[in-house]
Amino acid sequence: MTASTLDAAVRRSPVPNPSAARRRKNRRRFIGWGFLAPFLVVFVFALAAPIVYAIYLSFFQDRLVGGNVFAGFDNYVAAFQDPKFYSALGRVVLFFFVQVPIMLALSLFAALALDSARLRWPALFRITLFLPYAVPSVVAALMWGFIYGTDFGLVGNLNSFFGLSIPDPLSSNLVLAAMGNIATWAFLGYNMLIMYSALRTVPKELYEAADIDGAGAFQVIRAIKLPALRSAFVVALIFSVIGSFQLFNEPNVLRTLAPNTIATNFTPNMYAYNLSFAGQQFNYAAAIAIVMGIITMIVAYVVQTVGVRKEDR
């Protein structure tokens, strides 16, 4: 809008002097920057600067003895040879491949159910599933930590009341599943909402046409709803990739309850956090964080390209 009014102003100007025109052109360029400035300032200080600073940090080594020295790519070389980093990475990949399909399948089911208009109180249903997303994730992890307690928590109460012996959800075999459960609980409603809003954009004519053609409910889902959902599904999937790879709050909060089963390098983010705060290894932590960021970007990019390509087909 601004550009077009400016253009109009220039066109109306009767002076054909080339130098004046260039001056005006220059001014035009700066006016554009002026409009961009508020965003640019926030972008540079809040987004670009921290990343640049982390990259800068990752090229140094600050030791307790000997102080701060330039280390080149040493931190990165160390990161790629660090078995602790690989075990953390492997754990979030496993988490991604198990938790995300379950969560997205449930979200899809909930979105389709909501869209089917067969529910009695759709608004109540929607708000109930979405509510956990409004709970801060630290609070959610704390709450589930209490539920998981085998002695004083809900699990403990169930065990003693019904004489059951539910295994400890925080034992080493189950702890990752316990966290997956928390994440599913928290993000199911959120993903459901993304998919549901995509379903609402489907033109009514399509359903009418399907009705006329005599398509059943499942045929409508397969031929109309699922294709319409695809791009929303890809968005939800990308968010889930990022969420899984950045898993932090749940293990960090539950660690006080189960320090032996949740190691300091349980996830890459936790590893970076513990390196910088317990070991004062800011530089190495910065390198780990950057490597992890790049890996996440690559995975998210792959998911996006694959998803979009399918859509084009």
């Binding site: 003895v65 002695d151 309850l257 320090p259 032996n260 705060f277 004062q280």
Partner: protein
């Protein structure tokens, strides 16, 4: 810089003529830790300078988390109205140390005084973050404190804090549980194991103790077993978690873990508190401060707990170790070092301060209090009127000398769960866990520029 020098001039102006030069020399060559490690510390200020500084308008920032400190600060300000002490709770131990490390690194917002446990003192002393109080003549206070606490504020020949409390080990036990199952109080670790077996066989839902595997507890137990796994002189560090004492403890404790005679519940979690309250754990081996913890955390269990001396490896021994205990240290960045030292001296050694400390459930580090009849003979209603301080005082006497912590103990403790924790979780041999822990510590130390085990 300008503000700095005017402050110095003002400070200098109030001091007695003779000491002006020395004070200026002190603030001028604030090169941290200048005298650290030297055998004869050069005095930079006298007690008179410190006393004079306490009559000046000063504000001191003090970081501590113990429940007794507010009362101490209030009483101090009543006695020295010109000095204002602002107490801030920045979280318990590791949380506070992280914040402290951050402000030291940032160079601003550094408090004048901080509560620092003996475990973390070498780390901050090594980083030249603390004032070596030996330069201010505090060495003469040695006989005011128990020898084990005094030994722990001594780092590399300097005195980096004054002892505030201590944690000599004792065995807390549930009299009601012992009575119910006809158990006798064990005096050796062998008896401890047998008692544990008996109890768990009689009621599988009961355990001899809760131990989820914790660095502080492991260190204390190795200390009692005569181990000296850590040694540091400047940057030369030795870590030997396979020494005789360490293995002695590991061999004794492993069966308790493997046979589920101790339950793996981390301390200070809700699970643990409810277990302590319900009598699920028959004993708790911990520092003397645990007496205060029990009274505060589970007041409903009053009358059920008693205190016994720590079980021994050889019948008749009195060996003990320490778990926890804090010193009060003055930060090197403080601009009010003299007043800060004066405050720390008062809080750690004045009679009134000692009384406030023990009245509020703190365990004393002062030799005079440890030997006073009032304190020794106090009958504590919570413990069925038992004179528990006698047990603690005997334990303090039995603390084995020569223990040292690493100059990076906080990190070592933070990776304990990654290594020893695995041994606990898999119910393996704790000696193997110690070995893995040592490997982690050695790697970190060397990567930080120390020469560890070289």
């Amino acid at each position: 810089m300008f503000a700095h020098s005017t402050k110095r001039r003002r400070l200098a102006g109030v001091l007695l003529g003779g000491s002006v030069a020395t004070v200026l020399a002190l603030t001028g060559c604030a090169g941290p830790g200048g005298a650290a490690g030297t055998p004869t510390p050069k005095a930079v200020a006298t007690q008179a300078d410190i006393d004079a500084a306490l009559q000046e308008d000063t504000t001191l920032q003090f970081w501590a988390w113990g429940p007794q400190y507010q009362a101490e600060v209030d009483a101090f300000m009543k006695e020295y109205p010109k000095v204002k002490v602002v107490l801030t709770n920045n979280g318990s131990n590791a949380t506070e140390y992280t914040k402290l490390q951050n402000v030291i690194k940032a160079g601003s917002g550094i408090p004048d005084i901080a509560q620092i446990e003996y475990t973390a003192l070498p780390q901050f002393a090594f980083g030249d973050s603390l004032v070596d109080m030996a330069e201010y003549g505090v060495a003469s206070m040695e006989d005011k404190f128990s020898s084990s606490t005094w030994n722990q504020v001594n780092v590399n020949g300097g005195i980096y804090g004054l002892p505030q409390d201590a944690g000599p080990l004792a065995m807390f036990y549930r009299q009601d549980v012992f009575d119910q199952y006809g158990l006798t109080v064990p005096t050796t670790w062998e008896e401890y194991y047998e008692t544990a077996e008996k109890l768990h066989a009689a009621d599988p839902s009961k355990f001899m103790a809760a131990d989820g595997g914790e660095a502080a507890f492991t260190n204390a137990m190795i200390w009692q077993a005569g181990g000296k796994p850590y040694a540091a002189e400047d940057t030369d560090v030795t870590v030997d978690l396979q020494d005789e004492g360490s293995l002695k403890w590991a061999d004794m404790w492993t069966p308790l873990v493997q046979e589920d005679l101790v339950e793996q519940t981390p301390t200070f979690t809700p699970e643990w508190t409810s277990g302590l309250s319900a009598g699920k754990y028959a004993t708790w081996v911990g520092g003397a401060w645990a007496a205060g913890t029990l009274q505060r955390r589970i007041p409903e269990a009053a009358g059920t707990w008693r205190v016994a001396p720590l079980p021994q490896y050889e019948a008749g021994d009195t060996a003990s170790g320490e778990q926890g205990g804090s010193s009060s240290a003055v930060l090197d960045a403080s601009e009010n070092k003299l007043a800060a030292i004066g405050f720390v001296q008062w809080m750690s050694s004045a009679d009134e301060a000692a009384k406030i400390w023990t009245d509020n459930g703190g365990f004393p580090a002062q030799a005079a209090t440890l030997a006073s009849d009032d304190w020794l003979n106090a009958e504590i209603p919570y413990f069925g009127g038992q004179q528990i301080n006698q047990v603690f005082a005997a334990s303090a006497d039995g603390v084995l000398p020569g223990w040292q912590f690493l100059p990076f103990q906080a990190y070592a403790d933070s990776v304990y769960s990654d290594t020893m924790g695995q041994a606990y979780a898999s119910k393996g041999d704790l000696a193997d866990g110690l070995k893995a822990w040592q490997g982690n510590i050695v790697d970190y130390g060397n990567s930080q520029g120390f020469s560890v085990n070289k």
